[in-house]
């Protein structure tokens, strides 16, 4: 390498300005800095091309696609029920949210009625997913800014949530617990105690995080007034979720277009107006408290009943019935070998994931495999706003700003 070259850094010498003998003008040095794709603060494999003047960002160019795995193509060769497992892999922090959106889209095409118990379980588990995702966000965001210890607190609670997921589905992360027509399995015995033990202490744990950060002078110094982008620009660029709510727009799909009986739950949609990194932090903290409220309501009011819809051509029969009843055996055989046909049509199902608007556009041509599934991941829309958000700020603020976006690259690249 020699002569002091740093890999990934290109120093561009501008043409020398008019030099006069009396007043030496300091020569501006512009630099193009390659941040990522393996930078620890980019949370995955995001590459940012930063053009710098000293420490000030002149322009930023995000480069994505490192995690593209062709999931949308793969949907087309799997039958509908098999597709559920792909949705887990889109967003590793919110697999159940993606499960839910996919299933709701397919159920809308099929015209299936989901029993209340399954719907409430879905609400409870997706809210646990929201907590899981927000906890990872808070821990890593705090590490980026220099508060190491918050991470340990957040992962302590996250572990409890993953244990609940494991209890339900046998998996900590790639749960695939929601299936078209309801839930994969009957909720496990003793889930109430497990969830209650967690949710009884969780609000006090949120207080602990707040104690560490909310009035912390370093935290407020690094986050207040940083990462501003106007609400108009946000809507124009396709940002969704907590970032919009931190800019004052009270829009949450759980309220505006309720799905899976969210309309039966009592919760608030927190908003702020400061529209900076600190406001986004406060919004997400408040969302955690609201999610805890929803989980508590679900726990206390969980309806009795079946966990799958009454649709023998879609839902696998129980083992016992399959072995004793002719009809159930036939259905079992048909579902396992060829899947089930879905009426032709198209739907666009939208839900509120921890990161914002998740949308599944599903086209059916009447066969047992989807003709086309398009996934609108919130991270993809949010990442587009990076150039607008960091322009003119300092390089240290880039870390805080992109941390406040809370993106998952798998969700953006698919």
């Amino acid at each position: 390498m020699g002569d002091g070259e740093i890999p990934g850094v290109t120093v561009v010498e501008p043409e020398s300005p008019q030099e006069s003998a009396e007043t030496p003008v300091p020569r501006p040095r512009r630099m193009t800095l390659n941040m990522g794709p393996q930078h620890p603060s980019t949370h995955g494999v995001l590459r940012l091309l930063l053009e710098l003047d000293g420490e000030t960002i002149i322009s930023a160019q995000p480069d994505i696609g490192y995690l593209h795995t062709g999931i949308e193509k793969e949907f087309e060769v799997k039958n509908y029920q098999q597709g559920v497992t792909l949705t887990d892999r889109i967003d590793y922090l919110a697999p159940l949210s993606n499960n839910l959106c996919y299933c709701l889209a397919a159920e809308k095409l099929l015209g299936l009625e989901i029993p209340p118990m399954a719907q409430w379980q879905r609400v409870m588990l997706t809210e646990l997913t929201r907590l899981n995702s927000h906890l990872v966000w808070l821990g890593t965001h705090a590490i980026d800014i220099g508060a190491m210890s918050v991470f340990l607190y957040c992962f302590r609670e996250r572990e409890d949530i993953l244990r609940i997921f494991e209890m339900y589905s046998g998996q900590r992360m790639m749960t695939s617990y929601f299936r078209i027509g309801g839930l994969a399995l009957e909720p496990p015995r003793g889930w109430q105690k497990r969830v209650r033990d967690f949710i009884d202490v969780f609000p006090s744990r949120v207080d602990e995080y707040e104690e560490l950060l909310t009035n912390n002078r370093i935290w407020t110094g690094r986050t207040k007034g940083v990462g501003f982008i106007s609400l108009e620009d946000m809507l124009d660029l396709g940002i969704t979720g907590p970032m919009l709510r931190a800019a004052g727009l009270k829009w949450d799909t759980r309220k505006t277009q309720p799905y899976s009986s969210y309309d039966k739950f009592d919760f608030e949609v927190p908003t702020r107006t400061e529209n900076d990194v600190y406001a986004r932090y406060l919004v997400r903290i408040e969302e955690m408290r609201q999610s805890a409220r929803i989980i508590k309501q679900a726990l206390e009011g969980m309806p009795e009943g079946r966990w799958t819809a009454d649709a023998p051509h879609v839902v696998l029969p129980e083992r016992e019935k399959m072995k004793t009843q002719m009809e159930a055996l036939i259905y079992h055989f048909k579902i396992v070998t060829e899947g089930f046909a879905v009426p032709a049509g198209e739907v666009y199902q939208v839900i509120e994931s921890p990161r914002g608007e998740v949308g599944y556009y599903m086209v059916s041509d009447g066969t047992a495999k989807p003709y086309r599934v398009h996934v609108r991941g919130p991270s993809f829309g949010n990442l587009q706003a990076i150039p607008e958000m960091v322009k003119g700020t300092l390089i240290a603020d880039v870390i805080a700003s992109i941390g406040s976006m809370d993106f998952v690259l798998g969700d953006s690249d698919r």
Partner: protein, 157 residues
Amino acid sequence: MIAEELKTFPVVASLAEAQPEALVSGKFDRDELTLEIAANQIAGVCAYLKNEQKFARLSTVTGVDWYPEEPRFEIVYHLHSPERNQRLRLKCRLAGGNPEIDSVTGVWRGANWYERETFDLFGIRFRNHPDLRRIMLPEDWEGHPLRKDYPVTGDRV
């Protein structure tokens, strides 16, 4: 021609009045409103819907390949108006030979990456797009994977 019962939706009625030649057909299915727009009018229709009908957000842009039917491609736009709490789907049909359509980046800047993705995976060109490059796949990739005639298995030749 647009069916009369669809005109009970205010947005359809006003669009039919403002840009009658752009509306090809429409349907209301499973609580979702879909309008088919003439491909050469899409930018004007989007500008109208954003500026006059408060569709502030473009949720997503994508394509559907109906190979071997013709016209082969469908470009699908999902619009959203938080103010009206309404969603709307627009569709344009494009023939397979050299599919090209006007970009709507001039209406919503957020269309940029979605159109790049559609270009990358379907090979549909967007006219007047500021930066039409591949976004998911490497620059030197051959073919467009979401086309139906792109093989799912087998070696690359």
